[in-house]
């Protein structure tokens, strides 16, 4: 069965410093992986997705993630945090069936301090 584990429930950074949100996955096949962001009182928004093409995936708002099969990881990074990046971030894996079903991690709250 597919699953994702987000290693940190809460991450706090200062504005202008790098962001690292960690995610490990478990899958019996080559997975599709995603990062979604959820701002307060707003819907989930897709940041980026890995679909077995390039292992380094670039997303919106300067975020990127690297798929590392040997480490079963898909960590999300950004070189310089902005106050508007404060939100909940979810690492997501697609279900093995061809239905589009998504399996979400527990989420990481990113706090950005001025």
């Amino acid at each position: 069965a597919q699953s994702v584990t987000q290693l940190d429930s809460h991450v706090s950074v200062s504005e202008g410093t790098p962001v690292l949100l960690r995610c490990n996955y478990s899958s019996s096949y080559s997975p599709s992986l995603f990062w979604y962001v959820q701002h307060p009182n707003k819907g989930l928004q897709l940041l980026l997705k890995y679909t077995s093409a390039a292992t380094l995936v670039k997303g919106i708002n300067g975020f990127e993630a690297e798929f590392k099969k040997s480490e079963t990881s898909f960590h999300l990074t950004k070189p310089s945090a902005h106050m508007s990046d404060a939100a909940e971030y979810f690492c997501v894996v697609s279900h093995s069936g061809n239905t589009g079903k998504l399996i979400f991690g527990q989420g990481t709250t990113l706090q950005v301090k001025p």
Partner: protein, 117 residues
């Protein structure tokens, strides 16, 4: 392009009462999903429709939850009777086809926050 619409945005009910949520997906999207997001957790899929047929309802508590998408467009999720543990945000999402997550992005609505007292 209009996004996924949901109503109401907030609902407070007593336990054992019933409640219904409404979702209107993005125009032309064949697939519609209902997720439950309990505080501090990631969303969990309750039910997935492809047009007006059910693709996956394996995690829907069918003794109290029901959902329909009669005309293959908007959808209603109902809880009857509600329990305290049903307090959560109910998210609706839609995608163009729903067959391949790799190429078929899911777009989420703002959610309905349900509080059961």
């Amino acid at each position: 392009e209009a996004g996924v619409a949901q109503s109401p945005r907030y609902k407070i009910i007593e336990k054992r009462q019933s409640v219904a949520f409404w979702c209107n997906p993005i125009s032309g999207h064949a697939t519609l999903y209902w997720y439950q997001q309990i505080l501090g957790q990631g969303p969990k899929l309750l039910i997935q429709f492809q047009n007006n047929g059910v693709v996956d309802d394996s995690q829907l508590p069918k003794d109290r939850f029901s959902a329909e998408r009669l005309k293959g467009v908007d959808s209603t999720l109902k809880i009857q009777p509600a329990k305290l543990e049903d307090s959560a945000v109910y998210l609706c999402a839609s995608s163009l086809e729903g067959r391949r997550a790799t190429t078929d992005t899911q777009y989420f609505g703002p959610g309905t926050r349900l509080t059961v007292l």
